[in-house]
């Protein structure tokens, strides 16, 4: 069996658009990606980047134009695999004539949860997502945030090994978002693999072991958050004692902040040695030299050119 929880091999999707003269439109270019068991993996990209298409391909809701994928070492249409995964679609909508309790009972039946365990599991997950008090209420009376919680409950109901969340924080208030983050941490602690798509970068930064960035259906980068951010930024922060900024340093940076008799400057990594030499030659005592870690957002903005970002949002 494969060591990867999720293996995507050249998966692609092209739709035919237009009414009379059909023309191909690529929603996902050949995508190669693997996610290890127990990882929390973020799938990032602006709206229309191909995140939901990828998830739908993995769930067998749309059929690939090429390539393949394996989840837990099994094909994407293998029912044995489907019994071991959970899926939260983007902005989920459920049978609104059912109560939360009835809906989860139904999903438990479809997932093959044993009859004697069903009731206990349903109550357990509803308590876990904070909906135990409204379990007998029809879903048509639920708010967007409550429906999102129901969505999470149905995804974890049958104790799956791999979870796929499409924009799990969407529609949640700050408390709800915190709770989902905690839940994902908890799932990680339990050894579950979580693959989630988002365009909210702070969520990915705080939760993910690794992230992939997709844009216009194309993979732009994949790796640990720390690696990705360090690979592009390449800046160092130098702090020294004394109120002066040597002339040699003024040419290397435009960002010098003076506070008391301490100066803080940020220079490009390539200019680090020249800056330190300049300070030493001026007889200035250096307090610290620290690499600056950029946020994932900066990486994201740099990786996707502004024009492309705009195009992505439009599509």
């Amino acid at each position: 069996m494969s060591m990867y929880a999720i293996e995507i091999l050249g998966l692609e999707k092209t739709y035919a658009v237009g009414f009379w003269r059909k023309r191909p439109k690529s929603a996902l270019r050949p995508l190669d990606l693997s996610v290890e068991a127990g990882e929390v993996f973020g799938f990032l990209g602006p709206n229309g980047a191909g995140k939901t298409t990828t998830l739908k391909l993995l769930m067998g809701l749309v059929f690939p134009s090429g390539g393949s994928a394996r989840i837990l070492g099994m094909g994407i249409n293998d029912p044995r695999m489907k019994a071991q995964i959970g899926f939260l679609p983007e902005q989920p909508y459920f049978y609104d004539y059912l109560t939360a309790n009835e809906l989860l009972e139904y999903y438990a039946q479809l997932s093959g949860v044993a009859a004697k365990e069903r009731r206990r599991k349903v109550v357990e997950v509803l308590t876990r997502v904070g909906l135990e008090d409204v379990r007998g209420t029809q879903l048509r009376k639920f708010s967007k945030g409550m429906l999102q919680r129901v969505g999470i409950a149905q995804a974890i109901l049958h104790d799956p090994k791999v979870l796929f969340f499409d924009e799990p924080m969407s529609g949640l208030d700050p408390i709800g978002r915190r709770e989902v983050r905690d839940l994902m941490e908890e799932l990680k602690q339990q050894g579950k693999t979580v693959f989630f798509s988002t365009h909210i970068l702070s969520d990915a930064e705080s939760l993910c072991d690794r992230v992939a960035i997709i844009h216009l259906g194309e993979l732009r980068g994949v790796g640990a958050v720390a690696d990705l951010t360090s690979s592009v930024e390449g800046k160092v922060e130098i702090i020294w004692h004394g109120g002066a900024v040597p002339a040699s340093l003024q040419a290397l940076t435009s960002k010098c902040h003076l506070r008391g008799d301490t100066v803080r400057a940020v220079v490009r990594e390539a200019n680090q040695d020249a800056a330190i030499d300049g300070l030493r030659q001026a007889g200035i005592r250096i307090i610290s030299v620290t690499p600056v870690r950029s946020s994932l957002e900066e990486y994201f903005v740099r990786k996707l050119k502004p024009s492309e970002t705009a195009a992505g949002v439009r599509s």
Binding site: Y15, K56, L61, V62, F63, K82, A83, F94, G112, Q154
Partner: protein, 258 residues
């Protein structure tokens, strides 16, 4: 049968019931009560004929309307509202979903028909004062009506897998109307010549033969129904339904749920 089909069917049954579809029974009860009282006052000697005719026609029409208007949304509504995503991401085959939906609506129609049948017999008892042995043929007519429901449910479901609810309604209703004249169509086809005869015959046999399943007038006149006729009609309806369902499954198995 897969246990998942039963779960999907029972959920569909619950959906239809909670959609207040069975409220049609109230309208049916009012219709039958009013008709019985009125017929008792204005008809002389043909009260039974009128009540059976009216009652069975109402059972058929009420059921057909439910089968078409609920059936056309069975799949398309689930795609549109995306409720299907959380079902098909579980170990549920697409064919199981289609077959489960079919049995759910078919089950609702059977329950509906049973209640309506009770209404028809109650109205008959009211106007006749007693039951005759020939009234048992009404049960055969009701059975044939249920067979028609199975066929039209499968047809509505088939259209629901690839077209919008509006188009599916138009297609299903058109087939219902054409199918009600299927015997005439076959007659016309037999009179044609050459290629047009082949095409007309093909078309006549492709549409559902509802006219053969409509024995309302004959049972209203207390005419018996031959066992062979019941057997052949049963076989025809079940094979036709199964074939249409297979078509629905084949289309749905290939459909991208965008």
């Amino acid at each position: 049968m897969s246990v998942r089909i039963l779960h999907i069917a029972s959920n569909t049954f619950r959906e239809v019931v909670r959609d207040r579809v069975l409220y049609n029974l109230i309208a049916f009860t009012l219709l039958m009560s009013g008709a019985s009282i009125l017929v008792g006052q204005i008809s002389i000697g043909i009260e039974r004929l009128v009540v059976v005719n009216l009652g069975l026609t109402a059972v058929s029409l009420f059921g057909m309307v439910i089968a078409i208007f609920i059936g056309i949304g069975l799949v398309s509504k689930e795609i549109e509202k995306r409720t299907l995503y959380t079902v098909l991401s579980r170990p549920v085959g697409r064919w199981e979903f289609i077959v489960g939906k079919f049995f759910g609506l078919a089950g609702t129609l059977v329950v509906n028909t049973v209640f309506m049948a009770v209404g028809v017999f109650a109205a008959l008892l009211y106007v006749s004062g007693t039951f005759a042995w020939a009234d048992a043929w009404i049960l055969v007519a009701l059975y044939f009506i249920v067979l028609q429901f199975l066929m039209i449910t499968a047809i509505a479901l088939l259209f629901s897998t690839f077209s919008s609810p509006l188009l599916a309604a138009v297609f299903a209703f058109s087939l219902f109307v054409i199918g009600s004249f299927a015997e005439d169509l076959r007659g016309f086809a037999a009179m044609a010549h050459g290629v047009s005869r082949i095409l007309a015959t093909g078309a006549a046999y492709l549409v559902p033969n509802f006219s053969s399943l409509n024995i309302i007038t004959s049972v209203a006149h207390q005419q018996p129904v031959a066992g062979e006729f019941i057997a052949s009609n049963s076989l025809y309806a079940l094979v036709y339904t199964a074939m249409v369902l297979c078509g629905a499954v084949l289309i749905f198995e290939c459909r991208n749920l965008k």
